[in-house]
Structure formats: structure tokens, C-alpha cells
Chain length 113, copies 6
């Protein structure tokens, strides 16, 4: 894995397969996404742990199976714990419905237990 992907991994816990594939096959796309990621994930007013929790909740609210699993896959490596995400997902429950919660809950049960 090259240096920039390694830095990204420190921010998000686990670099999704598709980004690794793009890094090999499509350097323009990789550069584009890495620039975007840099503006999003680093510590700032919020810690990267809090941003990871938000990402799981947003992906769950959008009922996006791939995104929610990609986000959940890196959470433990960042030191986020299961109970924090479960509690956060209740906000998703209230705002996006029980099945949206279930998307998130299933992902963290698979990756964070």
C-alpha cells in the first residue's frame, strides 16, 4: 500500500477495497478521492473517532449496505467502541426509521463484536 493510502488508513481505520483498486488502476480517481478525504477525516474541531461514528450513522440512514459496512470495518481499529456506535444509531432510528437502524446494527454486529 502506498504512503497516502497508509495516511488515510490512520484516519479511517481501514481503506475500502475499491479505493485500493482505484489506487492501482486509476491514479486520477485516487488523487481526486484522497484530496477529498483529507478535507474530511483528519482530527480538527472533532476527533476522527467521532467522525467515524457520524459516517456509520449517515450511511445507515441512507440504507447503503456497502457504505455502512465499509465504515464499520475500520471503526474498531480507530478505538471506537461498539456501545458508542449502537447508541449513536438510535439517532438514526428516530430520524430515518427502524430499518435504517438495522442496517447500521447489522454492520457493527458483523465488524465490531
Amino acid at each position: 500500500m502506498d504512503k497516502e493510502l497508509k495516511e488515510l488508513e490512520e484516519n479511517i481505520g481501514k481503506v475500502p477495497m475499491i479505493l485500493q483498486k482505484w489506487a492501482k488502476e486509476d491514479p486520477e480517481m485516487e488523487k481526486f478521492v484522497l484530496a477529498l478525504d483529507k478535507g474530511v477525516w483528519g482530527d480538527g474541531a472533532l476527533s476522527k473517532q467521532t467522525k467515524k461514528i457520524i459516517a456509520i450513522c449517515v450511511a445507515a440512514a441512507l440504507r447503503d449496505r456497502h457504505a455502512v459496512r465499509a465504515q464499520a470495518a475500520g471503526a474498531s481499529a480507530l478505538g471506537v467502541n461498539y456501545d458508542e456506535v449502537e447508541e449513536a444509531l438510535r439517532v438514526t432510528f428516530l430520524l430515518a426509521g427502524m430499518p435504517a437502524y438495522t442496517y447500521g446494527r447489522t454492520a457493527i454486529d458483523d465488524f465490531m463484536k
Copy 2:
């Protein structure tokens, strides 16, 4: 405002108009929502400030003008600051697109500046 709404206000910063209306006109609905809210908003593994930020990001991701404004309206009262939410909304940008970010940004520009 009755006692339970007051408690809710401590957790979410500002009780939306519609909940106040339901509390007056539709006690069954009020009870139903207050029970749900109790399981969602209180301090626990996450602070209520973090939950509020998540709620704004989820509502923005869903492009829900009413929900995002209802959430943003109470954020300052809880001690959440503008920069935290703006940074959190970048996660929404990445996962849900620039117009979703704009929903959130417009709401916090109106209510938190």
C-alpha cells in the same frame, strides 16, 4: 410547557413546535414520542452534544429541510459550536453529496451564527 417537555428540552436544546402542538392536542402521540426520545437523547456512551451533531448530519444527508432546521435550532443551547457541526457536515458531503452538505450548512448558518 409541561415537565416532560422541559426534560426533553434539556436533552435536545429546543423542542420543535410540532411536539409542543402534539403535547397539547394529541396526548397519545406525545407519550409515544417522548418514550422514544428518552431512549435516544440522554447522555450515555455518547454525550448529548455529540448526538445533536449526528442528528444534524443525518437530517442533512436525508435532505430533510424541516428536520435539519429543527435539529440545528437547539444546538447552540446545548453548547455545541458552529465549527464542530461544519466539520461534521463534511462527512455528510462525502457520503451524501454536496447538496446534502448545503442543507446542513444553510441550517447552521441560520441558527448557529
Copy 3:
């Protein structure tokens, strides 16, 4: 209003402004939509009242302010009553979140009370 729009009005309670506009300005679009509407709204295995309730719930779940109001506007004319729709919208609450319910509830409070 021409004959086909009148028939549609019997099925959905109130023909939305935009369909009336299309009927005048864009006959191809009107024909297209009327054909679609015929396959959807008439009594069959379900009554048109039940279909109207479903339409309000679906439009609310999609957080579509225009569609939910367009559907709610015709409900009373079909003999659908407020309590039926409010109860139906609780299904939307469970599956799509409290703000989705609020979209529907606001529309029926405006048009069915």
C-alpha cells in the same frame, strides 16, 4: 376540465395543478400520465380510498413535500377520514423515521381537518 381529468378526479379526489397545466400545454405528457394513472388508481382488489392512504404514506416516507400535499389535498373528497391516515402514517414513522411522519401529519393537518 376535460372528460378524462374528470374521471381521474373521481379516483384521486383532486387533480393536482401540474396535471391540469400539462393537460392544457402538453397533450403528449397528459396522455402518458393519464394512461399510467388509469392502471393505478381505480377500484380493484383494493378500494381507491385505501390507495389514497398508501399514496400519502409513500410520499411522506420519501419526504416529498409536494407529493404528500398533492395526495392529501384529495383525500377528504374521496371519503377518507383523518384518523385513518394518521394511523397509517405511524407505519411510515416506524419504517422511515419521525420526520417522515411529520411530513405526512403536517399535510393532513392542513388539508383534512
Copy 4:
């Protein structure tokens, strides 16, 4: 299965796996969801059969594969028949597009035929 899950099964036809799992492993979550379900599914102004049809249409409109299958799985046990749901899903077609209809149609073809 405990008594409360049995009562829920009478209202929705089939209790989803995840609720059965929560009932075993996470009693707080179970209580939370059962309270919510009680306010939603019982006979009232609408029959539980009509609510089930609405739930399938809403889940299909949200393109939620898991929710639409979870809802469809219990429909026959409640006495809902295939033709009613298929006709209801045409409302979803009009309001949410042909692929949304297809989500619902595929689910009822799998569970109700």
C-alpha cells in the same frame, strides 16, 4: 418465543429474525421496539392487514431490500393476498419509480406465491 413477541406475531404475521435476536441479547432494545410496535400495528381505524400492505409499499418505495422482505414474509399469515399487495405496489410505482415497484414485486413473488 416469549409472550410479547407472540402478541407482536399476531399483529405482523412474522417477527423478523433481528427482533428475535434482540429479544434474547438486548432486552432494553427489545422493550423499546415492542413499545413502538404496539403503537403502530394493532387494529384501530385501519385493520392490521391494511397496515401490512402499507408497510410493504413504504419499504419498497425506500428501496429497502431487507425491510420489504421482512414485511412481505408475514403478509400471508395475516390473510393479506397477493393481488392486493401487487395492486398497492402500483402506487409505489407511480410515486417512486419502476425499480421501487420491482423491489416490492420481487419480495411478494418470493413470499406470497
Copy 5:
């Protein structure tokens, strides 16, 4: 395959399995959908190739795995090339987020490479 499905295939590249199934089992539904398709896909102010690209972008924006794959499956047969769709999907990225782009990108990597 009957004559009308053949004509549709010329416009969209590949008729989805479900339409072929409906054509056999549910002639009313088939007629309904074919009428709708006729008003949508043919050459007009836009070529059918451009419409196909739009369809992939819209299905990706809706995070609809089935629809995006059904659309991508016929693109090459119409003479649409991979680079055009990839570039179009960047619009989806901007408006609907990186995971929406990923839905589209995965589908065209599977069907157009």
C-alpha cells in the same frame, strides 16, 4: 422473445429478466410497462445512448443495486463506452456522494469492461 420486447431491446440494449418474466406471466403489467418505456427510451431530442447514461447515473444516485446493474447490462450493446459513463458518474459523486458513485462504478466495471 416477442416483437415488442425486441423493439425495447433495441432501445435499451438488454431487457431485464423481470420484464421478460412479466411478459410471460402478467400481460397487463407488461403492456403497462411497455407503454411507459416507449415514451421514455426512443431517440428524440436526446439519443438513446445519452438516455442510457442518464439512467445509470440516476440509478446510482438512488443507490439502487438492481436498477443500476439492469441499466449497465445493456449499455455496451447500445454503443455507449465505459469512459463516458465513468465521467458521467462523477456528476453523481458530486450530487449524491462517493458511495453513490461506487454503486455505478461497480456496475460498469462488472458489465462494461
Copy 6:
């Protein structure tokens, strides 16, 4: 308006108010968005006119009133004509439902007629 916003205006027809505001008040955000826009809008395998049409269709499919109007506002300046967009929006109708079409149609009726 500064040089980079001028270049963007050539690609998208009209720079949305919010981008102009960000350019003044939030230079980091402006840089971030301009970089993203550069990778999206320029002529390439597709013309910028085609990309604009796609953007309107995607924003309409997402029922995003602000985004669809922001996109439609610049279309005429790029030389896109009304009939092309109207025909493109029929794809949105098929994939996302009649109300999604209506979002787009209303925006182009306001800005392109």
C-alpha cells in the same frame, strides 16, 4: 467574482449563490469545492451540456428542490435547450417516480422557458 469562479461559470452556466458566499467567507471550503468541480464538469468524454442535463436528472431523482433549481439555473447559458432536459427527465420519471419528474419539470419551467 474571482478568476476561478469565472472558469467554473463557463462549465456550469451559473455559479450558485452559496458557492459565491463561500468564496468570500470560507476560502478553504471554496478551494475544496472548486477542486471537486474541476474533476467533474469540464468537457471530456462527455460535453458539459450533457453533464448539466445529467445533473438536473439526478437532482430531480433525489427530490432536492435546491439542487435541481441551482442546476437548472445555468442550463440555458450553456446552450442546453428545454426539450432535451424535458425528455431526459422522463428517464427520472421511470426510475424515480412522477413526483421526481415534477421536481425537475417545475425547475426547468421556471428557468428555461
